[in-house]
């Protein structure tokens, strides 16, 4: 599962690889000096079901021992979660050794789990003071899966068997897998795999496509709950091609220093979860739609790590409820998230307007070539994918509100700069020329002619930025800034459509309202006579 998060990691490795570790450690120390031992332990997860579940288990385990906990679930992806850990913004999150080796250290795959664990343990401690606790006891690696009847018909048990039968089979692989060296290209080299066709399929539809017979073989993940549900056969990697991806708790330097008791508690989970247990838990989460908290509590009870009274939730599985009732029940939460969302947008937009309008005005009076160049440079910001821009922020600003505001601010600049620049530049050439010829100073021409005439265009730019920001702000959930992205990210991770909609619907409504309000403002700033 972690692999789906690794696509951009490769692009962004330099974002933290280039950050000097001495600086990070000094920062962590400075933060530690300001805090007390009573500070809650900040527990995070990456945005997929298994990560949520493991993080929730960490959290409940500590809470059961009276250690206060702060949850920052669903952090963007490997580079965001790890960046936050390295800089001390979070204390612990579940990670996979293979991900640490390949995506974070940028090293080639190795086959031996113990060797991989040894390597990442040593390197992470040496470079960043970050500690891998002993693995939890299961691996989550690529699982090449076929339907049961295909396995029986073709006599498939191993990947070598699959290679032999592959000219008769149609493959559906995630785009990520098709391109990765430790994915299809490597697999073809190791096993001489030659499927009749290879179709790129996104994670969300892969299992259904296989179950319906649209494809015959897919790349799953060994702990996916869906493998059980669709009665699939996972083929054995008999040549040991896939590197080991052992799950383990990754612990910040600060937590090791400040809360050795918490680290000791977390270590009690090491070696306690095997693949079968994890797959069953994931199934309750992703297939049956049980709440994370309950699944985590049950798991901890089964392991004998917490007493029977901890966080039991007697409600029926939430997915039996209709969407309307679901939204109504969560109205206060959704209202709070909407308010937070609006705040993120309003603050970043106001700051962007305060910078972009004067910049656009200045450019309107600069040489055309230089002005166009500057506007395009600002436009380049717009082309950075949201999640990547957020990832860039982590080394500078950590996680939470500050990096989200900066990212939204940067995204909001371009439409306002562009509209201000063209609006001021193109404002009635005849009128500006005549005003100047009759003795208006350049400042007067700007104040009395260009700006009033450009006001509707400027406001239209603000409006465009605002609507974009309402959408983009949902990504802020990936770096723990809250807002309506929270239920969207969690819903995507848990395959819970209603949870996704409980964030997406208010976000869409908010965009419409913001657009309508600013359309009104646009009409109001239109000067009379125009």
């Amino acid at each position: 599962m972690m692999r789906r998060m690794m696509g951009i990691a490769a692009l962004l490795v330099f974002a933290f690889a280039s950050g000097p570790s001495a600086e990070a450690q000094a920062q962590a120390q400075a933060q530690a000096a300001r805090t007390t031992a009573d500070r809650p332990v900040v527990i995070a997860s990456k945005p997929f079901g298994e990560s949520y579940l493991l993080a929730e288990m960490f959290a409940q385990l500590l809470e059961a021992r009276g250690i206060p906990v702060d949850r920052r679930m669903g952090l963007g992806a490997t580079e965001i979660a790890f960046g936050a850990l390295r800089t001390g913004a979070i204390d612990v999150y579940p990670e996979y050794t293979g991900t640490g080796l390949i995506a974070i250290l940028g090293e080639p795959p190795q086959p031996d789990p113990a060797a991989v664990f040894g390597r990442v343990s040593h390197e992470f401690a040496a470079r960043w003071g970050v500690r891998w606790l002993p693995p939890l006891g299961f691996e989550n690696t690529y699982a090449i899966a076929v339907r049961k009847e295909t396995a029986e018909r073709e006599g498939l048990r191993t990947l070598s068997d699959l290679a032999r039968a592959s000219p008769r089979l149609r493959a559906g692989f995630t785009p990520d897998f098709i391109g990765r060296e430790d994915g299809l290209p490597g697999l073809q080299a190791a096993y001489a795999l030659r499927p009749r066709s290879v179709r790129p399929l996104v994670q969300a539809v892969k299992y259904q496509a296989l179950a319906q017979g649209s494809v015959d073989v897919i790349d799953g993940y060994s702990t996916d709950g869906l493998i059980d549900r669709y009665t699939l056969v996972v083929l054995e990697d008999d040549r040991g091609f896939f590197p080991p991806y052992e799950a383990a708790a990754l612990v910040s330097a600060r937590l090791q220093r400040d809360r050795p008791d918490a680290v000791a508690e977390l270590t009690r989970l090491s070696g306690r979860l095997d693949v079968a247990a994890m797959r069953a838990l994931n199934r309750r989460l992703e297939v049956d739609g049980e709440p994370v908290a309950r699944v985590a509590a049950d798991a901890l009870r089964t392991l004998g790590l917490v007493g029977a009274a901890a966080r039991a939730d007697a409600r029926p599985a939430a997915r039996a409820q209709g969407l309307g009732a679901y939204l109504w029940e969560r109205r206060m939460t959704l209202l709070r998230l909407t308010g937070r969302h609006l705040l993120l947008v309003a603050v970043s937009l106001a700051a962007a307007a305060a910078v972009a309008v004067p910049l656009g005005v200045m450019l309107g009076r600069a040489r055309a070539g230089a002005a166009e160049g500057t506007v395009r440079a600002v436009g380049v910001l717009q082309t950075i994918p949201g999640i990547a821009l957020l990832a860039f922020m982590i080394p500078l600003l950590g996680i939470g509100t500050a990096p989200a505001l900066v990212a939204l601010f940067l995204y909001s600049l371009y439409p306002i700069v562009r509209n201000t620049y063209t609006g001021v530049r193109d404002a009635s050439p005849q009128a500006t020329e005549a005003a100047q010829a009759l003795g208006m100073s350049p400042g007067q021409v700007l104040r009395h002619v260009r700006l009033p005439l450009a006001a509707p265009a400027i406001m239209a730019g603000v409006r465009t930025s605002a609507v974009i920001a309402v959408g983009t702000a949902t990504l802020a959930a990936f770096i723990g800034a809250g807002g309506l992205g929270d239920p969207i990210v969690a819903g995507l991770a848990l395959s819970d459509t209603r949870m996704i909609l409980s964030g997406a619907i208010p976000a869409a409504l908010l965009a419409l309202v913001v657009d309508a309000v600013l359309a009104m403002a646009e009409r109001r700033v239109r000067p009379g006579g125009v």
Binding site: A435, Q436, G439, M440
Partner: protein
Amino acid sequence: MPDTHAVPPTNTADPVLAADDVVKHYGGIAALDGVSLHAAAGECVALVGESGSGKTTLLRCFNRMTEPDAGRVTVEGADAASADAVEMRRRIGYVAQDGGLLPHWTVLRNASLVPWLRGDADAEAKGAAALAWVGMEAAEFGGRWPRELSGGQRQRVAIARALAARPGIVLLDEPFGALDAITRADLQDAFGSLRRGLGITAVLVTHDLHEAALLADRIAVLRRGRIEQVASPETLVRAPATEYVAGLVARSRLGAG
């Protein structure tokens, strides 16, 4: 007949506006290639020529909307290049072909622009008075937006705006070019009598020799950045200095009437 000589003019001993050997290049093209022209107090000089002849460029040198590359421009005896351009322009009226009214300002506010820029306490009264001169009573038209006016009405307001601060000089860049024949004749009459009544020195750019003959005391014919001839309308018809001027006069049938 000294006024048939192309350069230099000899009958403007104390000119209000003077251009001497003015050169202006755009890229490699000479828009003005050593032009000299004087306008005496109360005189109206028309600049006539084809598109690209340099007539508008020369006009714009007088209020420094264009800066000459070489040569000297004086306004009321003072070197224009060393004057404060903004302050100087407030003493020179200006009318463009399309009027150039500020679309977001009312008619009265447009007409009061220059007095307002000069800080006159009675700016609006001056604007209203100027509107009355051109037949656009402030009581009726003052509160309207420029887009609510006809093209001829807009040009009237533009003329009122140029005259409201009682400048001694007015520059006009094809002010009647976009109007229909009847409206144009009305405005030409209105402007001509106003200018004479107020004793304004004017430079008028036009491509219409009839308009030049009607409004100007002297006509300067420009061609490719040079002056072919500067003369009174009568002299221009009777004794064109060059074949080009003769052709221009013949084509306009100016002598026929």
